[in-house]
Amino acid sequence: MKFPILLDIQSAFKTFTRNKARSFLTTLGIIIGVASVIATVSIGQGASASVQNAINALGSNLLIILPGSSNIGGVKTGFGELSTLTLKDAKAIRKLPAVKTDSANIRMNEQVIWRGNNWATSIMGSSSTFPVIKNWPVTNGAFFNSQQVNTAANVAIIGSTVATQLFGLMNPVGHIVLIHNVPFKIIGELKTIGFNAFGQDQDDIVIIPITTMMEKVAGISWINIIMVSAKSKQDTLSAQNEITALLRQRHHIPPHKPSDFYVRNLTQIAQTAGSSAQIFTILLAAVAAVSLLVGGIGIMNIMLVSVTERTKEIGIRMAVGAKKNDILKQFLIESSVLSLFGGILGIGLGIGISDLISIITPLKTILTIEPIIISIIFSVGVGVFFGFYPAYKASNLNPVEALRYE
């Protein structure tokens, strides 16, 4: 029966507490490596969660139709290709069986003019349920109601960026602006929500009833985005197919030619975001590997010094009966405890940095248990790996020579 490993660990601790400054400096590489892993992983997870939230906020049945060729083979039709979607396309899509009737949004870019000021922004045609669906309330005035949608009223809800650009500090509600030469009365201002995860200013928008958009503004204009909801989550694929078939037919595209529009569902958008998060993770892993390697070399270096310094001690231990493996184990435990200690300090530092980022920046970092567990396993692994050579050297000393060492 061998002594419990706890005693070895305890004696390893004694070694380090007698040389605190050196132990700390030795593990600095591990501390920094682990701290940067913890901090960057928490940033990465925070960022990808906010992208996911932004995508989920769009509603899970959402389909987005964009102009442009899908770019698979085929000859591009040239400059005008971005103007392929029309208001009539949008109207037709709303009538498809798998598409929810009350949910279409149409977006186009237009100038908004108030007296001498004008501002180019995104005009969105939507329904009266917009504030509820998007969880985006009006803070000043009121959103348009369903009756105003049915009668295609000339009313507009203004985003805070547009309000500031046109009205400065004035209250925009009640003023009349011109959009596409049509007068609109501003009846409400949206709450400021800032930039989304893709870096777009979400407050740079004006919302008008979808009917007004279709009948009075869009006219013959091209539309740059149509957003519709499928009737249910199960219907998204059939809605996508119906839309594709309908638009190809309306645009007279022969079967062998690529479409001049995209239809994307939420899963596809999330996948794109997910794959960039994966690249980010791989980069992080590379940084972590390099810093842990550097930390490990630091540990190996100091363990080699320690073996030389303690040659006499090793000789004494061998004289009283320590076998090769006993010496090997002793130094391996020392190097692992040292790097584990560095790992734990690094985790503490990493959590601190992550919390600090949450406090001083808008990004909410997310800490999970996995990177912490992996860091602990990794730092012990680094200790064992880089401690092996010094420990092996120690265990192979000749007892007579080791005892003679001064």
Binding site: I316, R317, A319, A322, K324, P399
Partner: protein, 236 residues
């Protein structure tokens, strides 16, 4: 062998060296430190080895203590041929049978007095609680008080350090103690004090003691004497 036994009144043979030779190789130079050593030591003997500096005393002690292997000859320790054993097997023999006391004290400075004494028991795999009790017993035998147990080696005197080394040598009930100039760093009063502990252990516990020394006063504590000269035993 039987003749030898009779000569000593029938005691057991602990050590038997047959034609032991030791050649040190440094580069292309071979140095013959021991030449054809034949020696028999019985259980419970107090044995001194004297000789000039460089005569080969420490070389002989290293072989006797299983720290080094001879380049020729056979070494029987309690009847077992140990000249063919590997490093780990020798470590086990040292742990079970041999205790060392060196000139330079050779205590581990980072460990407390009692931890130093526990060390052979640690490597023997004896549970910590038991080891503490045995270490305390060994320390009491060499008159080290409880209140000094937790001191570090640099917090006790040279004489006390050497007594701690004796305690470490006997803690695992070694049958042989190898002491290579144990009084080398002590004044004459401390020397004879220390020697009285060796004598006590030899008499009370029947431990075989092999002592290397330069000083006749110290050698006088032993009951048998040999002199080594140029790698030979010249006087018995």
């Amino acid at each position: 062998m039987n003749d030898l036994k009779k000569n000593n009144g029938g005691g057991d043979i602990v050590i038997n060296l047959e034609h032991i030779g030791m050649i040190y190789k440094t580069g292309s130079i071979n140095y013959e430190a021991l030449k054809d050593i034949n020696l028999t030591i019985y259980k419970g003997e107090f044995f001194s080895i004297m000789g000039a500096s460089g005569s080969g005393k420490s070389t002989m002690m290293n072989i006797l203590g299983c720290l080094d292997k001879p380049t020729s000859g056979k070494y029987f320790l309690e009847g077992m041929d140990v000249s063919k054993l590997d490093k780990d097997q020798l470590a086990e023999i040292r742990n079970k049978k041999i205790g060392f006391v060196f000139q330079g004290f050779n205590l581990i400075q980072r460990l407390s007095v009692i931890e130093n004494v526990e060390l052979p028991l640690f490597y023997a795999g004896i549970p910590h609680k038991e080891a503490v009790i045995e270490a305390k017993d060994a320390l009491r035998l060499v008159d080290i008080d409880e209140n000094k147990e937790n001191n570090f080696p640099n917090q006790i005197s040279g004489g006390e350090q050497q007594r701690v080394a004796i305690a470490r040598a006997i803690v695992h009930n070694a049958s042989i103690i190898m002491a290579d100039e144990p009084t080398g760093n002590l004044d004459s009063v401390r020397s004879s004090e220390l020697m009285s502990f060796f004598k006590k252990i030899n008499e009370e516990r029947n431990v075989t003691i092999i002592l290397v020394t330069h000083e006749p006063v110290v050698a006088a504590f032993a009951k048998k004497h040999i002199i080594v000269k140029d790698g030979h035993i010249v006087n018995d």
